[in-house]
Amino acid sequence: MEYAHRAVQAVSPVELLSLQNVSKRFPNVLALDGVNFDLRRGEVHAVCGENGAGKSTLMKVISGQYQADGGTLLFKGRPYCFGSTHAAEQAGIAIIHQELNLVPHLSVAENIYLAREPRRGWFVDRVKLARQAQQCLDRLGVHINPAEKVRTLSVAQQQMVEIAKALSLDAEVLIMDEPTSSLTESETCQLFRVILELKRAGVGIVYISHRLDELEQIVDRVTVLRDGRYISTHDFAHTSIDEIVARMVGRSLQEKFPARTSVPTDICLLKVTGLVRKGGFGPVSFELRRGEILGFAGLMGAGRTETARAVFGADPMDAGTVHLDGELLDIGSPIDAIRHGIAYLSEDRKSEGLAVKMSLAANITLANMAAVSSRFGFIRFGAESAAARRFIDALDIRTPSEHQIARHLSGGNQQKVVIGKWLFRDSRVLFFDEPTRGIDVGAKYAIYQLLDELAARGIGVVMISSELPEILGMTDRVAVFHDGRIKAVLNTRETNQEEIMQYASGLDAQSAQAAPANPLKASLN
C-alpha cells in the first residue's frame, strides 16, 4: 500500500530524490536489498534502523561513494549514477559524515573553499575568499571567524563549517549522518535552528540519528530499514516513536531501561580526593561505592572525561589521591590502573578504542592477553576464539565471524567490541564514557542490562553520559560537573532533568530556584 502511495509521488516535481528498489552487494553480504526512498524539497527525512541496517550504505549510494548494483535512482526526475562523491557534490548532493572531514591546520574559509579557492591569476584571492566564507556563515546565522584555524573549533562549530561548505556548493540535498552524536544539548539546539533555516530555503535533508527523541523537533518523514531491507515510510505527524522503534527492531520494545536489580552498598570502593590537572580541571573529589552506578553528568568539556582519564592514568594528574578499597594507589599509566582493576572505556572508539586493522577477537582480548595465553606468552587461539564468540553472543555483535577485521564492522558494532574488551577484563571499577553513543536501541538495552549486572556483582561503575534520560534511568547517584568541578552529587531518585541541567549550566541551588523555565536556553549564552 505504501508502495503504491510512493509511486504516485515519484512523478511530482517536488521530488528531489527518488530511489526505487535499490540494492548493493558486498562480498558475503547483501547490504541493501530493494530499498525505496524519496526526498522532497524543504523536508527533513529521517532514515532509521539498527546498527548494520544499511543506513550508512544507503547514504553512500546516494552520495556517489558506492554505486548501486540494482534499482533506479532519480535526482530531480532524471536517472543518475555518480562515479564519486565529488561528482555528486557538483550536482548538488552533499554529505556530512559522522567523522568530520576537515583539514585541521587550515582556516575555516580555506576549508569551505578547499580546492575551489577564488583566484586572481595563479594566486588565491584572499579578500574574496574571506568575504565569501563570511557570507556562507552568515546565511547559517552562526558566529564563527572565517580566519580561525579549524583545529581550534569545537566539534559543533566544525559541523557548522561542514554545513557551510555544503551550502557553498549550492547543495540541494544534504545528508547528515549522526550529526548530534558528539554535540551537547545546547549545540544540538543550534544545529536544529540551522536545519529549520535550511528547510525554509528548500533544501532537502536526509537525517540519520540514533537519538529518536530528537526527531520530533525537526523531522517530517521517517523511513525505516531493517537488515538492509526497506520496511516502511511514515509521515512523522501520524506515527509515534514507539511505532518506529517497533518497526526498527521488528518487535515492540516495552522498556527503554531495564529494572535495576542491583542494590548499591555503603562500602566505599574508590575514593578520589583533590584531583587536579593544571589548566584542565579540578579540584575534583568523589566516592564510588561497591555495586553502585555513579553518573557523571555535565556539558562537554566540563571535566567529566578528563577526570576519568586522569584516574585511569591516561593523562597525568598534577595533584590528588586515588584510594581503591582503602589502599592508596600510585597510578602513572593505564598499565598501573588496569593492574589494580580500573578500566576506562573511551568515548572516541575509532581513535582511542579500537585497533582497526586487527580482528574482532584480537581486539576483545587485547586488554587481557594473559587470560588467553600460556605462561610463556603463546596465545591459545582456541580460548581466544571462544572468548570472542561469547561476547559476540552476549552483545549481539553483527559479524560474519570473530576473525572479521574490526575496520569492516559498522560503528555500533565497533563500540560493542570495545565494551567486550573491558568486560573480558574483570575489573573492580569501570569508567564507561558515553557507552551507548551511536548504538541502536536494542543494543542500548543490552548494555544497560550489562551495567546493572556488573553493579550487581559488586563492581563500581561510573557512567559518563550526555543523555540525561540515560543518567536518570540507570544511575544510583549522579555527580554533576561544571567548569572542571563537581557542582553537586545528587541522589538519582530524588532529582530530575531540570535540576541536573541547572547545576550543569553553573547555576547554584539558590539561583536555580529563580532560573528560567527552560534551562537549555539559559545554557546557550
Partner: protein, 331 residues
C-alpha cells in the same frame, strides 16, 4: 572451523601477488639460463638473500609498529668491524661475533630511546644513527679493512652443513652436494622464530596493536614504549648479526659494507605486503620479498644484464607489487 579455513585461504590469496611474481621469475630465468635452476645456484641465491632476509625480519617488526629503521646498513658495518677488531685483538671468534650482535643491539637501544623518550620521528632518529654508526665504523678502522683474522673467522659465513665431495682423479675435489651454508640455516631458524613470535605470542600481538592504533593499545594496558623499543633492539641486533655473517664471508672487517642495505630490507618487507602505515605484515611475506629481490639480481646477472638495468628492474618491481597490493585492498 570452516570460517578459519576461509580466512587462511584469504591469507594465501593475499600473498599470491608476491608469490606469483616469484614463481614467474623462477620460470622465466630457468628458461633463459641453463645454470639457473640447479642445486648449486639455488644455494648461491639463498646465500645472497641471507643478508636482506636478516635485515628484513627486523624491518618487518619495526614497520608493523608504524616505524622505520634506516640505520641497519650502517649498524651492520659498525658491528662487523667491531667483531673483527675484537677477534684481531685476541678475543675468541664466537665471543667476538657475540660482541658484534651486542653492538647492533646497543645501536637499536639508542634508536628506541630516541623514538620512545625523545619522541623523534623514527625516520629522523634512525637517519641520525645511520650517519653516526657509519662514521664510527670508518673512524675506528681508519677507513681501512680489518684483515688477517684467521680461518676460523670465516667459518660462520663460508661453512656448510652436509657438504658432500670426493677427491677426483685430477686431485681437485668434486662437489657432489654443496651443502647448506650456515648463513642459510641461520636464516631459516631466525625466520621461523620471528614468525612464531609475531603470529603466536602476546608480544607479537602487541606489536600489531601498537601499529594498528597506538593510543588504543596504550589505553588497553599495552606498554607501547617497551614494545616499540623491542622492535628497534631486535632490528639492531639482527643488523649486528648480519654484519658478523657478512664480514665472516669476506674474512675481513669492511667499514664500507652494507651501504643501502636498509633499502633492500624495507623493499623486501613492502613487496611482501607489509604496510608502511603500520599494523599489517608477515614474515612469510617478507621472506618472499627477499627472494624476489635476490632472484631478480641473480637471474639478471646470469643473463648478463648490467647492474644499472638491474636497479631499474628492481625499482619497477617494487612499484608494481605495491600497486597490486593497493588495488587489492581497495575492495
Amino acid at each position: 572451523m570452516k570460517r578459519s579455513l576461509n580466512d587462511k585461504q584469504k591469507d594465501l590469496i593475499q600473498k599470491f601477488a608476491a608469490l606469483g611474481s616469484l614463481l614467474v621469475l623462477i620460470i622465466m630465468f630457468s628458461a633463459t639460463s641453463d645454470a639457473f635452476f640447479t642445486v648449486s645456484n639455488g644455494m648461491t641465491v639463498a646465500l645472497q638473500v641471507t643478508s636482506i632476509a636478516y635485515l628484513g625480519l627486523g624491518a618487518t617488526c619495526v614497520i608493523i609498529t608504524g616505524g622505520i629503521d634506516l640505520s641497519v646498513g650502517s649498524v651492520l658495518a659498525l658491528s662487523g668491524v667491531a667483531a673483527a677488531l675484537a677477534v684481531k685483538a685476541g678475543v675468541a671468534v664466537p665471543l667476538g661475533m657475540l660482541l658484534g650482535v651486542v653492538v647492533g643491539g646497543l645501536c637499536g637501544i639508542v634508536n628506541g630511546l630516541c623514538v620512545t623518550r625523545l619522541k623523534l620521528p623514527p625516520f629522523i632518529a634512525t637517519l641520525g644513527m645511520m650517519l653516526v654508526a657509519r662514521g664510527l665504523a670508518l673512524q675506528i678502522t681508519g677507513a681501512r679493512p680489518v684483515s688477517d683474522l684467521g680461518d676460523s673467522f670465516g667459518e660462520l659465513g663460508n661453512g656448510a652443513l652436509f657438504r658432500v665431495e670426493n677427491i677426483g682423479a685430477d686431485g681437485f675435489p668434486n662437489v657432489l652436494f654443496p651443502g647448506i651454508p650456515y648463513p642459510v640455516l641461520l636464516m631459516i631458524v631466525l625466520a621461523v622464530v620471528v614468525s612464531i613470535m609475531l603470529s603466536r605470542t602476546t608480544l607479537g600481538r602487541h606489536i600489531y596493536a601498537v601499529g594498528s592504533n597506538a593510543e588504543a593499545a596504550r589505553l588497553s594496558g599495552v606498554n607501547v614504549a617497551r614494545v616499540t623499543m623491542f622492535t628497534y633492539v631486535l632490528s639492531g641486533a639482527l643488523a649486528g648479526l648480519t654484519g658478523c655473517v657478512l664480514m665472516s664471508r669476506l674474512v675481513s672487517g669492511q667499514p664500507n659494507e652494507g651501504v643501502m642495505y636498509e633499502l633492500d630490507a624495507i623493499a623486501s618487507a613492502v613487496i611482501g605486503g607489509t604496510s608502511l602505515i603500520g599494523g599489517i605484515g608477515t614474515i612469510s611475506g617478507t621472506a618472499i620479498g627477499a627472494f624476489v629481490i635476490g632472484i631478480l639480481r641473480n637471474g639478471l646477472n646470469m643473463n648478463g644484464v648490467s647492474s644499472f638495468i638491474q636497479q631499474i628492474v628492481i625499482g619497477l618491481v617494487i612499484l608494481l607489487t605495491v600497486w597490486i597490493d593497493q588495488v587489492r585492498n581497495r575492495r
